[in-house]
Structures are given as C-alpha cells and as structure tokens.
C-alpha cells in the first residue's frame, strides 16, 4: 500500500473520502429542503385569494395600515404560516425520533396514540376545566405523557410491533374520549371538533405561537444534543448498550419527542400523518438514511403547503389542514404497508 504524498490509497484517506459523500448529500438535502420551505412559506403568506405584494408585506410589517391587507396578513396569513412551520418542525422531528429509535416506520406518535392522548387531554381541559393558553399546553403534555407511558407499560419494553398494536388501540380509545367530551360541551362548535380531531391552523392567535416557540427554543437544542445517541440507538438496544448508550437514553429521547408532539397538538390539534410521513420522506431523499433535520424540514413543508392547499384548493371552501394531510397520508400508509417496508427495520 503506497504512502506517497500523491497516493490517495492511504487507509485514512479512504475513510475520509467514504465519509464525505453521505455528508455532502445530506448538506445538499438540507439546503434544498430549506429553499422549498421558504417557497411554501412565501406562497402561504403572499399568495391565495388575496395577493399581497412583497413591498406591501414589508410595509405592513413596518407598521403601515393597508385596509384589508394588514388585517388579513397579521391575523390570518402570517400567523398560520409561522405556526405551520413550528408545528411541522415539532411533529416531523418527533416522528423521526419515534420511528428511528423504535426501529419501525409505523411507530410514529400520531399512529401510536400520543397525539390523540394530547388532544383528548386538551379537550378535557377546555370542556371540563375551562383552561386555555399555557395551562392548555400543560394539559396536552400531561395527556401525551400519560398515554405514552400507558402504551409502553402495556406493550412491554421490547418489541416495537406490540407497541404499534397497543398504540393504535389507545389512539382509537382517545378518539372516543374526544367524541364523548364533545357531547358534554355546552356549545358544540364544529370548528372545535375539527381542530381537536383533525388538526387545523385556523383562528391562530399570536400568544399560541409565542408559547410554542418558547418551548421549541428549549426542546430542539435538547434534541440536537441527544441526536448522536439517537444514531446509536438505531443499531438496536444490544449494540447500543455495548457502545455505552443505555436504554434510559431511549426513554429520554422518546420523552423529548412526546413533549414536542404534545406542544404541537396543543397549538394546532393532532394534524394527521405529519409526524408519520416526515421521517420516511426525508429518509428517501437522504439515500435511505435517517435525518432528524431533514424530517423537521419535511414536516414544516408538509404543514405549510398542506395548509395552503387546504385553504385554496377548492374555491369557496376552506378545509382544516388535517383533512389534506390525512388525504395524502392515508395512501402513503397503504403504500408503505403494501411495499412491505413497515414493521421491518427502520
């Protein structure tokens, strides 16, 4: 084996070169997804039935009052787009953490009942306890953690297949709880039902955005901090223990993902399938490798673009975003099952 200066055959150089290619691929992917997200964001904010020009956009942000446009932008278009990004990041990264650490593409928080646990708890807090704002977020977190722990205890610590089965059952039970609570609600508001069963970005208020942003500023760096353990846990619990990453790390990572899911649900409801599709889509774009950043970006794109389609696809009708993500997510789930990839290693 040559060790001359020109020789790229030194083993260390072979290793360096081989490490570079997937990293470069990932960097391109992150840039590409960021551009796509920016495009979707701009479209959501400026386009639609009422088009806002770029100069007007900055004038309004600067405090100018343009009749119609200012109200539409500041109380509808902009908050919806921003919340879409935040919720998408929360759902996308939470889904990828679940799927990769449990090594099963079906084990995403919206499939295994975590989202609906948060939703049921939030509806209980609204209908029975009359809570709102931060207290509502906390109620959603409590519900999500309770369901996650219950599912984990019933399913046992090993075997993500059992976890999926138990989780799907729990999700159905939580849907029933939400329905029951609505029958007891004083005002049976259709929009409320859509929000807490399907997920929607309609009627977002700025305080909701600030609350979610505040939590994400803490949780996303925490997730980044533990990202390397997540990579090790993908190798399975035995290899991970051998490399010094204990099972407790799995629980910590899943807890972070449960928190992200619960906060997203508290802000926008259990938007169907965003957590579930973000992981596999980002992985397919990343040469089959799991990427948390990619999943977060895909989640955000799905939310923002989905909300745009929901709002304008059918003239005169504005769907909640969950209807659109559900409509696209369901065939995707079927495809995943038909292709035999679900239940296999993730």
């Amino acid at each position: 084996m040559s060790t001359t200066l020109s020789g790229p055959t030194r083993p260390v150089d072979v290793v360096r070169r081989a490490r570079r290619a997937p990293r470069r691929h990932h960097a391109y992917l992150v840039v590409g997804l960021s551009v796509a997200l920016f495009g979707a964001f701009v479209a959501r904010v400026l386009l639609g039935n009422f088009i806002i020009t770029v100069p007007d956009f900055f004038r309004i942000l600067g405090g100018a009052e343009i009749p119609g446009a200012t109200f539409l932008l500041m109380s509808e278009k902009l908050p919806r787009a921003i919340l879409g990004v935040l919720v998408g990041v929360a759902f996308g990264s939470a889904g990828a953490v679940f799927q990769s650490t449990l090594r099963n593409p079906l084990a995403s928080p919206d499939i295994v009942g975590v989202s609906l646990g948060a939703s049921a708890s939030a509806v209980f807090a609204i209908v029975v306890l009359d809570l709102q704002g931060l207290a509502l977020s906390i109620a959603a977190i409590v519900g999500a953690i309770a369901i996650a722990v219950a599912v984990r205890l019933v399913a046992g610590s090993d075997g993500s297949y059992r976890l999926v089965l138990v989780g799907v059952t729990a999700a159905a039970a939580m849907t029933a709880v939400v329905h029951y609570l609505f029958t007891r609600a004083n005002e049976f508001d259709a929009l409320l039902v859509l929000r807490w069963l399907t997920g929607a970005l309609n009627g977002v208020t700025w305080p909701t955005i600030w609350t979610l942003l505040g939590f994400l500023v803490v949780l996303v760096p925490a997730l980044a901090w533990t990202a390397r353990s997540a990579q090790i846990l993908q190798l399975g619990p035995d290899v991970a223990t051998g490399l010094g990453v204990s099972r407790r790390r799995t629980d910590l990572l899943l807890l972070l993902a449960v928190l992200l899911t619960a906060l997203g649900v508290a802000a926008a409801g259990p938007v169907a399938f965003v957590a579930f599709v973000a992981g596999p889509i980002s992985r397919a774009l990343n040469g089959g490798r799991t990427t948390l950043v990619g999943a977060a970006l895909v989640g955000a794109i799905v939310m923002v673009a989905g909300d745009y389609i929901a709002d304008y696809a059918v003239p005169g009708v504005s769907f909640p975003v969950g209807v659109v993500t559900g409509a696209f997510g369901a065939p995707f789930l079927l495809w995943l099952l038909a292709a035999g990839r679900a239940g296999r290693k993730a």
Partner: protein, 271 residues
C-alpha cells in the same frame, strides 16, 4: 483476571437460565463458550456484557461489579457483538464502523483525525477497506459480519465479547472470521470471549474452553482437557469419537450417529 463471574444467576423470568455460575476469563487469550441449545451459554455472555442484570451474584470487570459501573465507561474497556445485529437502512460501512467510536467522544466533540485512524485500522484488520463507501444492506453475509466486527474493533477495547459471530456464515467464512479474531489476540493482545456452536471450530480456536450444560459450567480448561468423548456425550448428548485434528493437533469430534453404531453396542439411547 479482568473479567469474572461470581456465582452469577441470570434469566428472563422467574427460572434462572444460568444458575450460580462462577468463572474467570483469562486475559489476552481466546475463551470460547460451548454447550447444547438452551444450556445458557448466550445468556451467560449477555450477562457478562451487562445486557442482562443478574438475578443474584455479579459479573466483575476490573474489580468492580459491571452493573454498578457507568455503561459508557464500560464501553471503553469491553466491546460487544451481539447475535445477528441489524444495520439501519442505507448506512454505509464507514458510518457504521465509525459509530464504534461513540464511547470515546462526548456530545459536543467533533469527529477527529484519531477517529479516522481508528476506523481505518479496523477496516484494514477486517479486510473491509475496499467496502468503505458501500451500503451495509447490500453486502454479503460474510462481508456484513466482518463490518460488524470492524465496528467493535473501532471501539478499541481490551476485551471483546461475541455472541455466535459465525451464525449464518458458510464454513469458509466461519474460518475466515475466526482467523481474524485469532489474529487480534496476536496483534493487539485482545481478550476475546465468544459463544460458538461448532465444537470442532471451538476446539481449534480456543485457548480456554468453557462447556456449559443445564445452566451450569460442566468443564473448563484447554480444548484437550475439555473435549473428551465422555464429556461430549454428557454435555451435548452426542455419542462420538474424539481424534486428533490432523492440521492443528486439537481434539476433533467425530459423531457416531445411529446408523454407524455397532449392533453389539451396549448403549441404546436415542440421540
């Protein structure tokens, strides 16, 4: 002795699979654990690798109970290759082998030249350098097994535990892999402990052999001491002759089987 079991009992439910076993792993040598299916050999290895918490007794590593030490600190000393590990989809060989560096890096540390060197050395030792940029899923069974060994080597531990590393390999690849592990003992002085199914390969590659039966240690010692016709019948329930391996001089087990039993043979146990 850096690694030892002190009357350790291990199991998955109420009944212990490994029953109050005490043994010592000689440093710098290759120890092979053999025994019939269900004798507790893999369970014992899992207990030594801290994958299973003992019901009673303890596994001692460097003078302290392995379960009471931080798992990350143990990972710097003790490497592990579990039975048939599954690689994440799409992962490349260098990336998988690089994950063996985990115990040597903290959360903020960037990948270093030292890490590159460790991965390169592991790939060279396992003869997988030319596979560096390939996707693990697409490799053959023998190549994949070598890559997993490379990951454990990149961990640069003094002790290496392997649970049936030759499963699913054809005989040529089994010999290749065992040669590779044997070479480690020569070049790095690594203490290797492995569970093997094949008694003849175990006898050939072990310096120290542990035979298990019914959750207990039936015999320990050099292959020549442990592998005798009587013991094989007792541990494996196999009637056999033991001859000298013409290549290595180690004991070679030749099963007799029902059809070759002399008709006048006194034993008539079905096996």
């Amino acid at each position: 002795m850096r690694l030892a079991a002190e009357s350790v009992s291990l199991g998955y439910g109420a009944e212990p699979v490994v029953d109050e076993v005490s043994l010592e792993i000689p440093d710098g040598l290759t120890t092979v654990i053999v025994g019939a299916n269900g004798c507790g050999k893999s369970t014992l290895l899992r207990g030594m690798a801290r994958l299973l918490k003992p019901i009673s007794g303890q596994v001692v590593l460097d003078g302290k109970a392995v379960h009471k030490q931080p798992t990350r600190a143990v990972a710097k000393t003790l490497g592990l290759m579990p039975q048939s590990p599954v690689a994440p989809e799409g992962i490349t060989v260098v990336d998988l082998v690089g994950r063996g560096r985990q115990p040597h890096r903290n959360a903020l540390q960037r990948w270093s030249a030292e890490d590159d060197a460790a991965v390169a050395e592991a790939l060279e030792l396992t003869d997988t350098l030319d596979l560096a940029d390939r996707v693990v899923d697409e490799l053959s069974g023998g190549q994949r097994q070598r890559v997993w060994v490379a990951m454990a080597l990149a961990q640069q531990t003094d002790l290496l535990l392997l649970d049936e590393p030759t499963t699913f390999l054809d005989v040529a690849h089994q010999v290749d892999l065992l040669d590779l592990l044997h070479g480690l003992r020569e070049t790095r002085g690594t203490t290797v402990v492995m569970v093997l199914h094949d008694l003849n390969l175990a006898a050939r590659y072990a310096d120290h052999l542990i035979a298990m039966s019914g959750g207990k240690v039936a015999a320990t010692g050099t292959p020549a001491e442990v592998v005798t016709a009587d013991r094989v019948e007792q541990v494996f329930g196999l009637e056999c002759q033991v001859i000298h391996d013409p290549v290595s001089g180690t004991p070679l087990v030749v099963p007799i089987g029902r059809h070759h039993r002399p008709s006048a043979h006194p034993h008539a146990q079905g096996a």
